[in-house]
Amino acid sequence: MVEIIILTPFIAGLIVFFVFSAFSLPKSIGRFLLVLTGAVHLTLSFMLWRNHPQAIFDQYFAVTPEGMLSLLVISLLFFLISVYTVGFLKESQIPSESLFTGSMLVFLSTMTMVTLSNHIMVMWIAIEATTLASAPLIYTHRSAASLEATWKYVLICSVGIAMALLGSVLVVFSMGQANAGTPISFSALTGVAKTLDPLWLKAGFVFILVGYGTKMGLAPMHTWLPDAHSEAPSPASALLSGVLLNCAYLGIFKTNKIMVAAGLQDFSGGILMVFGLLSILAAATFILKQNEYKRMLAYSSIENMGIIAFGTGVGGLGVYGAVICMIHHSLIKSSLFLSSGNILLGYGDRLIKNTGNLVKGMPRTFVAFFAGFAGIAGFPPFGLFIGELCIILAAFRAGFHVAVTVFILSLCVIFAGFGNQVMKICFEDCNTAIKIKEKACMVWPQYLLLLTSLILCFYIPDSLNQTISDAVTAIGGGLR
């Protein structure tokens, strides 16, 4: 049962890729299959969440609260993005559409595998597979710049993930002779955490953090991220930023769970906080002088990943804040990337200075873009405000006064830089004629994403709340 949800998009992807390129079927069927698979995947995710079935290969896969949360986010996002993609593909010229659609579906399959994997090595393989499945998406436009972005993405992420493999090997080594019969799954390792050799476990954690942190976009390993996110077509950017980064975070989260169970949370928390702060500072430095709006959004993703890592490191209420930030960041950032796709199609330019007056030119996109900005900047009604507030409170309580001051100041700088650029895009005079009409399927997905985020701020269903608190308490966090 659990495996079906991984296999469905994988098979659909292969069908689109091979059957369509072999028989040159009409493009509309491929697009239909994309949306259909998205809908089926969403249904399956809900069934999984309701029933908590056992996996057939239960030594490799398991339904965990944190994985389930990520899976629900992935499913919802993918479905809405696939609806947007149909409109997007009609408006833009993409050289090989079957490769693009097929890669999107295989990418969904690999990300689903990350959320459900319980085995250290399967997790590693799944995260590596996400890199490989998403590389063709970045190279969609076949330009020199997109080639450069793809090269950097594959090389830097592969080297990073090689580090994570080394880390995984070290974690297994920390089991020693005493645990020779224990399976190497995250749940089993968390169970025997006290008997693991702390030295090797610490070494393993550092390598895993650096490795998956590269993929998550933590500074100073983030250099591939702005290039990849800006060069990929907008639906792919939305997926990369909205869900792929969460997948990498999940790897770190699960390893941190072992660290907490072994009583090493001070060590792992400290490192997470340092990387988190570095990422926020890096984002603050680069976002101020950014002249491309997609790169600006990419740096904002680095900032948010930094916030999540920082919150996880602080512990307690901070972990709760981090999980809330993760959910809302996915919803809001993917809507922003989709809106940026409309802007790119409308103005035909990536530079902020060649855009302007969005409010008149593309009013429906403007609503989504501006509301998304308000959400991502942490204005009170949206969830990121609640998440960031939790993290700040937890950090003050734990006595990290200097760190939290840097944190707050950087957020202010980022807000100022981001706001300045968004104002230019939305309200500054511009004479460019808008090249596309705003179709319903190219604005409604953004509205729905933002609406979901807004609803979740006021009302979280009990079952969802339970899943969140299960995930949070597992690494020593909670609502206190």
Partner: protein, 217 residues
């Protein structure tokens, strides 16, 4: 003092590490990485007491992939693409060789400090593994030729494989399962890399990564 076969063949790997610091041709690097691939994949046969059938099959598969398929596919890639054969160093060859010596001395010292009980029988296992990792990193940073960088990455993978097979003597878990997956991933990466390399060559008419520096802040 008795030397065992593992230490003897590993000493050749250490020598090859030194060679790869000084190699100026991509072809030499391919041969070296192929040799290292063969050696690291036969190591599991010498350590540990017994080997299950599955373990033997996986180890042989690794041998074929690391020792033959991967080096051969890079070789074919440069043949087909008529790619420049010089590694285009950022750090000069003499300085590179000095770095290589420093790496070997450093790793020997480091592994002397880290006492891994289970593999103490093989003095060179840890230094070689760490040296391979460091060499791969060095090639990634100090060479501009894209193929030399890919080879650096594979060298790192070889090092990790050696760490894995060395450490898993005591735990025994990873050898059969994880390593196969590792190798599969290696092949997948190679495929993607080959496609990217071909496109880089077509787009820029060279594989000098200095050309890939237009995206920045």
């Amino acid at each position: 003092m008795m030397f065992n076969p593992v230490d003897i063949i590993l000493s050749f790997v250490l020598l090859s590490v030194l060679f790869s610091f000084g190699a100026d041709r991509v072809l030499t690097l391919i041969k070296l990485v192929g040799f290292q691939g063969v050696v690291v994949s036969i190591i599991p046969f010498f350590i540990g007491d017994h080997m299950s059938t599955g373990g033997t099959v996986f180890t042989l598969a690794t041998l074929v992939i690391r020792g033959v398929i991967i080096p051969l596919s890079i070789f074919v890639a440069i043949r087909k693409g008529a790619i420049r054969r010089v590694v285009e160093p950022i750090v000069g060859y003499h300085a590179s060789i000095l770095c290589g010596l420093a790496v070997i001395i450093g790793t020997t010292y480091l592994s002397g400090r880290l006492d891994i009980g289970s593999v103490s029988g093989f003095k060179l296992l840890e230094p070689t593994a760490i040296a391979l990792l460091a060499t791969g990193m060095f090639l990634l940073m100090a060479r501009r030729n894209a193929i030399a960088m890919v080879i650096g990455y594979i060298m790192m993978e070889n090092g990790i494989y050696l760490v894995g097979s060395g450490l898993s003597v005591s735990t025994r878990h990873i050898v059969e399962f994880g390593i196969l997956l590792d190798v599969l991933a290696g092949v997948m990466i190679m495929m993607i890399m080959a496609v990217i390399l071909r496109n880089i060559k077509q787009t820029f008419d060279d594989v000098d990564t200095a050309l890939l520096r237009t995206l920045k802040d």
